[in-house]
């Protein structure tokens, strides 16, 4: 039962530079002129009202969307411009017909390494490992989806409303996991409506009345 924790050692140096970034969806401008910088160890909170473009910004950073203008410059990390990253969207990629163990093992084989049991423990779903995804509650599914982070050896995490449907315990486990990730020099960008409670998190405001980015303490 006492498998070692996943993930040790520090990530290669990482920095993110967003310059004059603009996003358009279906021909409609969502945001523009966004500038912010981040480096390994940082936590960025994306704030803004519904439709401000928080999810779109995460998808831009993940490389799933092309920018309408401006640039996203990653340095450090892998040899290509974009480092290895893990994107957790608002949908949980959990299959109803796989058990939690099989689901985690597949994610590990796909893009990570480490122990499935330790990953499950990191999100407090150890006892659910042999339960099929279709039988999990929304919160348990979300915990399983986030347990992927404990398997992925990726320096950049992009999380879209990760605490939705998590209980207090789950949110605390997520905060602890993000803390370990940052201590290793990892970067995390979180789109959120509630304050995440991450220490020294910087806020990037997206919004119709606050078009630029602003840094807070």
């Amino acid at each position: 039962m006492n498998a070692p924790e996943n993930g040790s050692g520090t990530y290669p140096a990482l920095s993110l530079n967003v310059e004059g970034l603009a996003c358009a969806r279906g021909g409609r401008a969502v945001f523009g002129g966004l500038d912010f910088q981040a480096a390994g160890g940082d936590a960025i909170e994306l704030r803004g009202p519904n439709g401000a473009g928080k999810s779109s910004l995460l998808r831009l950073l993940a490389g799933l969307l092309p920018p309408a203008a401006g640039a996203i410059v990653w340095t450090g990390g892998a040899e290509t411009s974009r480092p290895a990253l893990t994107y957790c969207g608002h949908r949980d990629p959990v299959k109803p017909w796989l058990t939690a163990r099989e689901q985690l093992a597949w994610w590990r084989d796909l893009e990570g390494n480490g122990s499935v049991e330790a990953a499950a423990r990191a999100m407090g779903i150890g006892p659910l490992l042999d339960v099929a995804g279709g039988l999990l509650s929304a919160g348990q599914r979300r915990r399983l989806a986030l347990a992927r982070l404990a398997l992925a050896e990726t320096p950049a995490w992009l999380l879209d409303e990760p605490s939705v449907s998590l209980d207090e315990d789950g949110a605390a486990l997520l905060t602890a996991m993000i803390g370990r990730h940052r201590a290793r020099g990892g970067l995390v960008v979180v789109a959120t409506h509630q304050p995440t409670g991450l220490p020294h998190a910087r806020t990037v405001n997206l919004g119709l009345d606050a078009p630029g980015g602003a840094d807070g303490a």
């Binding site: 993940a62 990253l85 949908r91 990629p93 299959k95 017909w97 796909l110 893009e111």
Partner: protein
């Protein structure tokens, strides 16, 4: 290789746990073929003439029926985003998914085909060529179908759209598949047709996965 083998195994596991999905495709194949003797009459000589074409057309339509499960579920739950943002080669992921799809759709169709051919009074000389043609042709159906399945992601009434997109592309496979059986029944040389099917398979292996990857990328935008 580990990510691709794992994806292949995962899709096989789906086919085993949702055996009904495969069974529906095979049942459709059988029922579609059985309708022809009922509609045309039991005359053995008539049925023998149309047998290769009927089996091939039914195999085409049965494959079509199975294509929506190739990417649709992975797209809806965000697994495609995971493929696109990961470090794994999406090209090989698509190939692994196609391999699993063929193994759970194309191969069972080939196994069933001699039974259906016998029911349609296909001359015994044609059985082996029918199976060989299907062996080369059904992977092409899967590969071309993967492009169609990726293109219609996010579209309304994708099932109808995919038929319109993919069936015209299936025509060459149908023609060479049927011609090879006809040739061997009439003691002609079937090998040019078989070689063309093989060429179609090689072309499909090269062209279809990159096209499906492009379609997946644009669907995720």
């Amino acid at each position: 290789m580990r990510p691709y083998l794992a994806t292949f195994r995962r899709d096989l596991r789906f086919a085993v746990r949702h055996g009904a999905d495969t069974a529906v495709v095979l049942a459709f194949f059988v029922v579609a073929v059985v309708l022809f003797p009922l509609g045309i009459g039991p005359a053995a000589e008539t049925l023998a003439v149309i047998a290769p074409g009927v089996v091939w057309v039914a195999a085409l339509l049965a494959t079509l029926l199975s294509l929506d499960r190739l990417f649709a579920a992975d797209f809806e739950d965000g697994t495609v985003d995971l493929f696109l943002t990961g470090r794994t080669s999406l090209l090989l992921v698509v190939l692994a998914k196609c391999a699993a799809h063929w193994l759970t759709t194309g191969l069972p169709l080939i196994v069933l085909s001699p039974v259906l051919a016998a029911m349609l009074h296909l001359p015994a000389a044609g059985y082996l060529m029918l199976a060989l043609g299907l062996l080369l042709g059904t992977p092409v159906l899967t590969l071309l179908g993967a492009v169609g399945a990726a293109l219609v992601l996010g579209a309304r009434r994708g099932g109808v759209l995919i038929a319109i997109l993919v069936l015209p592309l299936y025509i060459p496979v149908l023609i060479f598949g049927v011609l090879s059986v006809d040739a061997v029944i009439h003691a002609a040389d079937p090998w040019p047709h078989i070689l063309l099917l093989g060429a179609a398979l090689l072309a499909g292996l090269v062209i279809a996965p990159p096209a499906a990857v492009l379609a997946l990328r644009s669907a995720a935008e």
